[in-house]
Symmetry: C2
Subunit: 584 residues, 2 copies
């Protein structure tokens, strides 16, 4: 066992070249231990074991600084920099996050989870080094899939301007999460096929020096090249040809499914957690496939995450030209769907709330100023969504809810979601975003409104008095529980409202509430600041009615427990009842 | 005169090839008439006269669709598509905007003012055309300067996936607003020098077909090439070498100053409006130059608009390596300054509020999750800023003010601005953004706080009773006027507060106000929705104090008059006094 003696990169350097292969095997076993039990990013980590060993063998971290893109391939780096216990021992799994994290180690420089950022972040390290006259090596690691993102391309284009030591490692495994889309991948392919020698070269066209390593899982070759370019005096791209999922045949053979994987049985690769419940991804995909078959103008667009709305390879093939994956390129995606809508198509773009953040300006300028009727599905937008600090779905109401012209809808259940989606695809007046519920698939079997074109009309689900509960989107069920508890406790029925529209206020309903209510509470599944509830508070600012807003306090919670976070924000039924007691 | 007979592109097609040169001259005269009297984008329009004539000569707009990037080079297009009066006759100047605008003409497809969007928007038109089985030509026009933007690079990368008619015109005048920065410009230069023949080719590396036109101001050559590629069955880049400001020697010789120009004397090129007042751009530049001279770790970063903080060519040279223009690449800029701050530098990034919209995700993820102490200057963030719908400075409070960890400050005058800026550069705890005032340079000669590290403390400027006025940033002077009018009218002094912090609430101050005040009014220079005032309304939601929020109603006003917009939003002193009268 070599790994047990490695507590920092210094220990690694004591090993002979020949011992590193054995170490790589031990690292894969450690990765396998964690990933098979806990789940996580499989393919990127298995493919990068050798590159990361070689990097730490040649360079001197943390003086030399390595910045990992998305940082979902940094597990070997964590293992080699004092955090191996989190891979070897189950009781230490929770010691580390799935991403680089400066709070964990001096070898980590940024908390990174979004794609396409490493070149720009590392470029900043370069500039600061040069201003201070220091001389460490700065290394950005980026996968081929991340190269289609605008920030990565901006960073790559700018890199040559730095004119000093800057090493950009392109980890090319010929895959994004799914297949790569974009013309540059043809060039990467040409470069791989010509062993880096073809004249037309994206990186050289960006004015960068370039070296190719064909055997990207061969430690010796990697070390040889890294030794050559260590302390180089100008920016260079090292293009490394690796195998995603390397060392686990099942993953090598099905790269898309093994990019990220749930806990699994090592022998068979079979997922341990069986989940046959309905989910909104599957349901959305089924709905869209049917819709697209009936109407050739409907087109589904994703940006590198087809799985977010259930488009497996099979479903993508079924959709044919009516399904477009633009690659990791959210900015392009929004402008693209605006253009499709302008020219008579009926586009639906879906991505995670967290990735929608990439495209504020395109939502505002390309889509909403132009008022084109595209449909945007905002997924995992919830306290119940992903809980890593870089993947939170808590900010989209504040970000998108204040963009003029956008109609942002918050359905409360399956039936209402599909009513809204169907209306949105068929209408041609508004850019519409829909916040897909994220609290499990709730089915009411009720009939919902078919036409949402008269904007900002709230739905009164229960007429009552004294207290009105405005329960937005997937916090509607929380509102129901509070309403029922109010009745149980005090014997009166509060009014319960489904606001439906995030982006506007129903003045008529709000005016009428003043007659028989003294307290309005708002519930929303996202941060309070800039959100839905504050608009209600502002509306009632000069009235006698009292308003209490519930939501998550503005913050970056990391790997939180849902119940704890709700409780911290007084979002449990008991706490809300307690508060109501105070105010009425 | 040929121009007088041209009311649509059909009329253009009646001219002989040889008559088009004369027409180009007439168009330049028309451009000169408008631009010398009204000001506007000079260089881009003068350089593109021939290309646009040739486009309309060969293609059939509006069936064939041309999408202009930034659309600040579309004046000749407007002249040829029924809007020539707006260039020929002073009384019609206001008939058209400075950008393409579907409300003006069926030949315009999008309202565009931000850079780098045309390829993606046009790509959407292509996809919709193909879904419907139509066959028009789709043409995107983009300048070399816009190519450094992430959205453009994403669009360029994706274009080849469309696999059908798509013509991308790259108007290469070897300039952005200022010089170009980025490695790709070396490649464009190689392509120009080799007349498009050099093997390494950015566009081919994006898997695109490619043609080069060396004489980009030669109508005949342009027509010849456009005729060849009309109805082409796949995406192609037409790289055209043009001269920015072509036909006006003074502009050709000083391209940066003539990108956009104020009204001027045609003979001398001298600006007609002389403005020797202090402005925040000049002041910021002077301050930063001095700061950078004293401290080699300080670095100023801009993204293609050095002029926004007064960095003329001379000042840029003076700053040397401590000044970085990353090109039009706002996403990269924010990640880059986060990296600089992480590695011990003291970066200051400045751009217009409207362009800050490009970088929501980088502000949140690359900067604020990582809590790196960079300084961000948000310029022309105001109702008093630019008034074209695509360049409004009304949204940054809602966009940035709700990002966790960010400290967003709103100075009320010159002295406070520089106190905040100096503190921000020297501190190392927080990412800080500063909203540069935009209501003229107000100097108070008072001393301001030196240390803003105890967050969210409001400054009580005048203690009074009954009414408290929270007057944020450059609406502070409006607050002063209201306070003085209250005293005049009712004989009592209201409390006047300078909140200073956009991103947090001073609970102590707000609690104390409850004792002797019945009304709080908030004033902010931006949209109300998601803004500062709503947080105050929410805070007081369950109290007895009344709150009235003042700001601009969420909307996209276009070419508004400031006074009218203020009046529409009840933001004149008289209207506010009227309201106060109702509420107290």
């Amino acid at each position: 066992m070599y790994l047990e003696n490695i507590n920092s990169p210094k220990d690694l350097k004591k090993l002979k070249n020949s011992e590193l292969e054995a170490l790589a095997m031990e690292i894969r076993n450690a990765l396998m231990n964690r990933l098979s039990k806990l789940g996580g990013h499989f393919g990127p980590n298995f493919g990068m074991v050798e590159t990361i060993i070689a990097l730490h063998y040649v360079f001197n971290s943390p003086k030399d600084k390595i910045v990992f893109d998305v940082s979902h391939q940094s597990y070997t780096h964590k293992i080699l920099t004092g955090r191996k216990e989190a891979y070897l021992y189950d009781e230490h799994f929770k010691d580390v996050s799935g991403y680089t994290n400066p709070q964990e180690s001096e070898h980590d420089f940024f908390n990174i989870g979004h794609t396409s950022t490493s070149i720009s972040l590392a470029g900043g390290l370069v500039k600061a080094r040069d201003l201070q006259g220091n001389n460490e090596n700065i290394i950005a690691v980026i996968g081929d899939g991340s190269l289609s993102g605008g920030e990565a391309l901006e960073g790559l284009d700018f890199a040559s301007e730095l004119k000093s030591n800057f090493i950009i490692i392109v980890n090319d495994n010929d895959m994004s999460i799914a297949e790569n889309y974009g013309g540059l991948y043809k060039n990467l392919n040409d470069l791989r096929e010509s062993k880096g020698t073809c004249e037309c070269n994206l990186f050289k066209a960006m004015n960068l020096d370039y070296t190719y390593i064909d055997e990207g899982n061969n430690i010796e070759k990697l070390i040889e090249t890294f030794n050559k370019i260590k302390d180089i005096d100008h920016p260079i791209v090292i293009h490394i040809n690796t195998t995603k999922g390397k060392g686990y045949k099942i993953a090598e053979e099905n790269k898309e499914n093994w990019h990220w994987h749930l806990p699994f049985d090592i022998d068979t690769g079979k997922t341990k957690i069986s989940n046959f419940e309905e989910d909104y991804g599957m349901l959305t995909c089924e709905y869209l496939l049917e819709k697209m078959e009936k109407d050739k103008k409907v087109v589904t667009v994703v940006a590198g995450v087809p799985g977010n709305i259930g488009f497996t390879k099979e479903k993508r093939e079924k959709a044919g030209k009516q399904f477009v994956d633009v690659g990791i390129a959210e900015e392009h995606a929004i402008a693209f769907v605006s253009g499709i809508a302008k020219n008579g198509g009926k586009p639906v773009f879906a991505t995670h709330s967290s990735f929608m953040q990439r495209t504020y300006d395109q939502l505002s300028q390309d889509l909403c100023i132009n008022n084109n009727p595209a449909t945007i599905l905002v997924n995992t937008a919830s306290v119940y969504g992903m809980n890593d600090v870089t993947h939170l779905g808590l900010y989209d109401i504040a970000m998108m809810g204040n963009i003029p012209n956008l109609v942002y809808l918050a359905p409360t259940c399956k039936e209402e979601y599909f009513s809204m989606l169907d209306w949105s695809i068929e209408q041609n007046e508004f850019p519409v975003a829909i916040r897909i519920p994220c609290n499990g698939v709730v089915s009411t079997n009720k009939n919902y409104e078919k036409d949402y074109s008269k904007l900002n009309r709230y739905q009164i689900e229960q007429s009552g008095n004294k207290v009105a509960i405005l329960a937005l989107g997937d916090f509607y069920q929380l509102g129901e529980k509070v309403a029922s508890e109010v009745y149980k406790k005090w014997g009166f029925n509060p009014t319960l409202i489904n606001p439906r529209y995030i982006t506007g206020i129903d003045k008529e309903v709000l005016e009428n509430l003043q007659k028989e209510h003294s307290l309005v509470i708002t519930l929303e599944d996202g941060i309070l600041e800039g959100g839905f509830g504050e608009k209600i508070a502002s509306y009632y600012g000069t009235s006698n009615i009292k308003v209490k807003n519930y939501g998550i306090k503005k913050s970056f919670p990391d790997r939180y427990g849902v119940y704890e976070l709700l409780k911290q924000n007084r979002l449990t039924v008991e706490q809300i009842i307690e508060d109501i007691n105070k105010f009425i």
